[in-house]
């Protein structure tokens, strides 16, 4: 994704400094403009595709019309007062109810027109109102629906993934220095265990710690009734986070370590590292200056993508642990064809991704002196 370029580090004569600065600014502005436009177009295309897919190209309108009629038929079948109305009166009642519901869902307007309204609203981050879903506390505003589920998602997946990220990073770094050790071989041997997803481990963890040992909860976010004090609440939350965090951790830790370890090993065998070793530099110094530093862009990219990847949660894991996160919300929205919620979640993710991609270029330049934003040299 990066378009930053490398250029050899050269000394500049002082007379050329002002000119160089102006040139840099101009290059930066041009680069920024092109980049922003490119990302904006990408977002528009991505979001519009989401709208089209979520609505099955307009087929969802037919589905909704059918569902409305079926729901009302069921309602009438169960309501003796309605069934005993004269046929014409009953028909009028049913047709009125159908019309009201179709108008409520906007089915009285062609899908193609509505699709552009969805797009305009999404791009301006006017997330609007859900068609079927409400937030847990009862709001129909997509913004509130999403915001309500955000903290549980962040706290669980944020904790688990950050823990996973840094643990894996530091262990991998250590293993890269002890290539072929017993621990290294153990990690390699266990790496295939990551083929199973987190929810798979979750089921076993629930079985062992909740159903058999009865020491940890089956799921949910806190105890019931909910503790009244903040400390009690936080402790209860931590208790409920143990199993899902462990499930996420177990499902990914070995392969992540393996992956980072391999990555560090490649850098550890670079000539300049060998040179540093030959110069007698301490291993800490080598690690920090000659291994970590050149790998920083990759580490940061991984970390940034990890952070925005939290946005969608994990549908099945949240379901297994009955965790009130964004994953389950997204799943419900898809099941109900609730376009505003689907588009809302997607557009925010799209913006987050675009911003991340945009910022990463600048961050690369900050952490790696070989990188220049918008330079003419070869692509980094």
């Amino acid at each position: 994704m990066t378009e930053a370029t490398q250029s050899p580090v050269t000394a500049s004569p002082s007379s050329l400094e002002k000119k160089a600065a102006a040139s840099t600014l101009s290059r930066l502005a041009k680069y920024t403009l092109v980049k922003v436009l490119t990302l904006a177009v990408t977002i528009v295309i991505g979001v519009y595709l989401t709208i089209i897919i979520a609505n099955m190209g307009g087929e969802v309108d037919n589905i909704r019309r059918g569902e409305i009629r079926e729901r009302i038929a069921l309602m009438v079948s169960m309501n003796q007062d309605l069934r005993r109305l004269p046929a014409e009166e009953r028909s009028k009642y049913i047709n009125d109810m159908v019309r009201i519901e179709e108008e409520r869902l906007g089915l009285d307007r062609p899908f193609i027109l509505r699709s552009f309204t969805y797009l305009a609203d999404a791009m301006s981050l006017n997330l609007g109102r859900a068609q079927y879903l409400t937030s847990d506390s009862g709001s129909k505003q997509v913004r509130l629906i999403i915001l309500e589920r955000l903290p549980p998602t962040l706290v669980l997946f944020g904790t688990a993934n950050i823990l996973l990220f840094f643990t894996a990073l530091f262990i991998a770094l250590g293993l890269s220095r002890h290539y072929g050790s017993f621990l290294d071989r153990v990690v390699i041997a266990l790496a295939p265990t990551s083929a199973a997803p987190g929810w798979f481990y979750g089921i076993f963890l629930i079985l062992i710690f909740a159903a058999i040992l009865n020491v940890l909860p089956y799921g949910g976010m806190v105890d019931a009734p909910v503790p009244e004090t903040t400390i009690g609440y936080a402790l209860s939350l931590l208790k409920h986070m143990v199993l899902p965090t462990l499930a996420i951790f177990m499902s990914s830790i070995f392969v992540t370590i393996y992956s980072w370890r391999t990555f560090f090993l490649i850098f550890s065998s670079e000539d300049y590292v060998e040179m540093a070793k030959a110069k007698g530099l301490s291993s800490q110094m080598i690690e920090r200056r000659y291994i970590l530093r050149p790998t920083m862009p990759n580490i940061i990219t991984n970390f940034a993508l990890l952070i925005i990847g939290l946005w969608f949660g994990a549908i099945i894991l949240e379901t297994v642990f009955n965790w009130p996160g964004l994953g389950r919300l997204f799943y419900r929205a898809i099941g109900l064809f609730d376009t505003p919620v689907i588009v809302g979640e997607t557009v925010i993710y799209a913006y987050l991704l675009a911003i991340t991609v945009f910022l990463l270029d600048f961050i690369y330049a900050l952490v790696d002196p070989r990188v220049k934003v918008g330079g003419e040299g070869p692509k980094a």
Binding site: N62, I63, R65, G66, E67, R69, E70, A73, L74, V76, S77, M78, N79, Q80, L82, R83, R84, L85, K92, Y93, I94, D96, M97, E101, R104, R129, T134, S135, D136, S137, G138, S139, K140, L144, E148, R149, P151, P152, L154, V155, G158, I162, L163, F166, A211, Y218, G219, G220, M221, V222, A224, V226, T230, A234, L237, R288, L292, N322, P324, F337
Partner: protein, 853 residues
């Protein structure tokens, strides 16, 4: 240094996330799709005043609920719920589980038990268009009634129940639910139908072959062809439940007799545009695996024929393709219009309609689905035969651990706080409604086993119906009279002037005067206003009742400041049969109601006007603040209006509308606001208004919500994101805890028949029928009737009669010499049907004996 900085930043991120999630800002609420439970009543004919005698438990001193706290949690998985029940993590799983494996697990556990209930039922819906589809030019065999009728013989319902549903169901052949008073009343007719249409594949094939040949189809190499192409049957198979296996089974059966079958697997969303909205003549489907729901004990299924078999049922293309025979159409219409004057006449019509319905068979009924509500063995709670525990009105009064008073019960349900709670047009999800019924009480409550009503807050009632209407009564808390004509008094309220905010009297609406087919007078106890208090401490008042009457009309009137277009059709429909309401006295509270709408049961003809609205109970002052918000366009009671105005849907328990309601409460309190002042102001004083707003303010201060009722539990707090609700016992509830305890278990009779193994044709014979419940003889006074049917060795029904009562728990079937003279030589089967007054599920037993000359 950079590495440490990164570590610190990481830790900070984690810490901030933990703290943000620890905020307890989100509050209470709940949501689902609850269908309004309409009680369909069917009642017996000749009975006039028969009092059901039921054993009363030993009185106790405790008032209100047996337990102190109900903790409600979310558990989406039935499997996990059963494990949690076994581990005592929860006490009750408030859901109807129809998974056979889970049911077996519950049955196998000595620590658990379950309550069985009905609810959904399955059928095959046929596309009757054709016989050649206009859209495809292809043959549709199901346009021919005889082929549809033959499908009854092609389907083995016992296989469906035993192999597909694993026993969690009952075979069904007719439009009658198996657990219903009509089924019991017409037992011999239904039994004949069941025997006639019992599984017989050869017969089905024979009829279908003959009819297909008439249509011009030919059987080539075992496959039906029409115009040189295979006759293709498209089975639209629903995939979400057992209907997937049922659809496959039906497809297999059709393939076996030569049809080329396309199995079109669809979810509800995918199938509905095709079967219910699409034009049947497009030829996109032939058979749809349909499913319907009953949410209350059906007491009058007479209108099923009109709804399921005629174009009058629904204004959808499929229904418009129905072409019932003239005779069937007329009978269906007579039954829905109740164009009969006696129950005998109705029974005759129903019997004929049953026969014609099976001949028409645009639907082939398959099975009534049964399900269980699992719970700890020590828990007791009333369960509705159709609505289960979560649909029962009596669950809050009866839930307890056996032998215990107080304590806490944990209830799990698959979903919790699904949609906003407001009494006028809030959540209709059954999970929310269960909790709403825990906090709000009814004036009349439904018997969970018969569907009749009992007085809860009402003291007594009188019902008067026009002579000639076949209305009967069963219980003794009301009287029933007949009158040649029922005049509606001129000062009764017939309608509502939303602009002037006053009622329109009968004299104004009907200057010439008007009559009604039914009148009810409901009497509340003299100490009503002292005994009943809202949870916020406000005494119940006549204002609460008058607000309820106003709400019946107001929001459906365009001139109302609270007008809601989505309510208008309901109000219009209500007014088509409503004639008037009159508050005869406010203290004691006595209300007369006049209407042209009537039911066969007198108990279901009482209008109580108790302020339990469509989605919950509400005090006038609680509604007032919502009306203020609704009128100002800041929030709306209904989802439709909220969407129209682009505002929030009102929730009284949590979310953004809590702040709006609080602001409106402050305004109302400052203004001394009395909504609909020109009318309600006559029943509510300024002092009452001030006191009530103060009470509600304090309630909100303590609990952060505005949800109040008068029932045995109040809402302590709801935690929407965490998925938890806490209900606490309402200490000021006035009635005894054991009041409804007799409804803790459905008294379904256990029947056994014994008698002679060998009967000589032409001689007398006698058989004993033992009727028990939980090992005790069933009281004679609790039994409606015991019928017997005798099928001879040829399988023909030869005798039908009533067994004679001997004593509690014992009846006798006496066959005369003339009776046995009608029997053929061989094995004869005696079937007995016991119909209880205490439960709508009839009990069956059979006995075989040998007849010889």
């Amino acid at each position: 240094m950079k590495r440490y900085s990164l570590l610190v930043v990481g830790l900070l991120v984690i810490a901030s996330m933990v703290l943000s999630a620890c905020q307890q800002g989100t509050q209470v609420v709940t949501q689902v799709v609850t269908e309004e439970v309409e009680v369909v009543t069917t009642v017996e004919v000749e009975k006039t005043v028969e009092v059901v005698v039921t054993p009363e438990p030993t009185p106790v001193e405790r008032n209100g609920a047996w337990v102190d706290t109900i903790v409600v949690v979310e558990e989406p998985s039935a499997d996990a719920a059963v494990t949690r029940l076994q581990n005592k993590d929860i006490d009750l799983y408030a859901f109807t589980v129809s998974n056979a494996e889970v049911a077996a697990k519950v049955a196998a556990s000595p620590e658990l038990k379950s309550e069985r209930s009905f609810g959904s039922y399955n059928e095959l819906t046929f596309n009757p268009a054709g016989p050649v589809f206009e859209g495809t030019g292809k043959l549709n065999p199901f346009a021919v009634p005889a082929i549809r009728e033959a499908m009854n013989w092609l389907i083995d319902r016992d296989y469906i129940v035993q192999e597909i549903m694993k026993g969690l169901g009952v075979p069904r052949y007719t439009p009658f639910n198996v657990a219903s008073s009509d089924y019991a009343r017409l037992a011999e007719v239904v039994r004949k139908v069941e025997l006639k249409y019992a599984y017989n594949k050869e017969k089905a094939q024979e009829i279908i072959t003959a009819e297909m040949e008439k249509l011009g189809a030919t059987l080539v190499d075992g496959k039906w062809q029409y115009n040189g192409e295979p006759v293709e049957i498209i089975v639209l198979i629903r995939t979400e439940d057992e209907r997937r296996q049922i659809g496959d089974y039906v497809a297999n059966q059709l393939e076996d007799i030569g049809f080329t079958v396309t199995r079109d697997y669809k979810t509800s969303a995918e199938a509905s545009p095709i079967w219910i909205r699409g034009n049947p003549n497009d030829g996109l489907w032939h058979i749809y695996t349909g499913g319907w729901i009953t949410t209350a004990v059906p007491r009058d299924l007479g209108d099923n024929f009109d709804f399921f078999y005629t174009p009058r049922g629904l204004p959808q293309p499929l229904w418009q393709a129905y072409t019932p025979s003239e005779e069937f159409d007329k009978i269906a219409l007579d039954l829905v219009n109740r164009a009969y004057t006696t129950i005998e006449e109705r029974t005759e019509l129903m019997a004929k309609a049953l026969e014609l319905a099976l001949q028409d068979s645009v639907r082939v009924w398959l099975a009534d689905r049964a399900s269980i509500t699992p719970m700890r063995a020590e828990l007791q709670v009333a369960s509705d035969l159709y609505g289960a525990v979560y649909g029962s009105q009596l669950w809050p009064y009866t839930i307890r651990r056996e032998g215990e008073v107080g304590g806490s019960v944990t209830v799990a349900m698959p979903s919790i706080l699904v949609e906003p709670w407001n009494a006028l047009a809030g959540t209709n999800w059954i999970y929310d409604q269960m909790l709403i019924r825990g906090t709000g009480e009814y004036g009349l409550v439904f018997d969970p086993f018969t569907g009749l009503t009992y007085p809860n807050r009402v003291e007594k009632a009188e019902v008067v119906v026009q002579e000639g209407l076949p209305v009967t009564k069963t219980l003794d808390w009301l009287t029933l009279e007949f009158a040649p004509s029922i005049e509606v008094p001129g000062d009764a309220w017939a309608d509502w002037d939303a602009e002037q905010q006053r009622f329109i009297t009968v004299a104004e609406k009907f200057p010439e005067g008007t009559t009604a087919l039914r009148k009810s007078v409901v009497y509340y106890p003299a100490d009503l206003y002292e005994k009943v208090k809202w949870h916020d401490g406000s005494p119940f008042s006549a204002g609460d009742v008058v607000m309820g009457i106003i709400q019946t009309f107001d929001r459906g009137k365009e001139a109302s400041p609270y007008y809601d277009a989505s309510i208008a059709p309901q109000v219009e429909s209500f007014l088509s049969s409503f004639k008037g309401v009159k508050i005869v006295s406010t203290d004691p509270l006595v209300i007369e109601t006049y209407s042209d709408l009537w039911n066969l049961d007198a108990e279901l003809n009482v209008s109580d006007w108790w302020p339990f609205y469509a989605q919950g109970q509400a005090a006038w002052h609680a509604l007032a603040i919502g009306l203020k918000a609704d009128g100002a366009g800041e929030a709306a009671f209904s989802a439709a209006k909220a969407d129209e105005l682009q505002v929030e849907w009102l929730s009284y328990i949590s979310g953004p509308t809590i702040d709006i309601l609080k602001a409106k409460l402050d305004e109302a309190s400052a203004e001394g606001f009395i909504p609909y002042a020109p009318t309600l102001g006559e029943y509510v004083t300024a002092e009452e208004a001030a006191a009530r707003y103060a009470n509600l303010t304090e309630w909100h201060r303590q609990r952060g919500h505005f949800w109040i009722g008068t029932n045995v539990f109040y809402l302590e707090r709801a935690f929407p994101v965490e998925g938890t609700v806490v209900l606490r016992r309402y200490n000021d509830y006035s009635e005894k805890a054991d009041r409804w305890l007799r409804f803790s278990a459905p008294p379904i009779a256990e029947v056994e028949v014994d008698g002679e193994d060998r009967v000589t044709i032409g001689s007398e014979a006698s058989f004993d029928v033992f009727v028990d419940f939980e090992g005790q003889p069933y009281l004679l006074a609790d039994i409606d009737n015991v019928k017997y049917l005798v099928f001879d060795a040829n399988g023909e029904l030869v005798l039908v009669g009533q067994a004679e009562a001997v004593e509690d728990g014992l009846f006798q079937v006496n066959l005369s010499a003339e009776d046995t003279g009608k029997l053929a030589e061989g094995t004869t089967r005696l079937e007995v049907v016991v119909v209880s007054k205490r439960v709508a599920v009839p009990s069956f037993a059979s006995f075989q004996f040998v007849t010889a000359p």
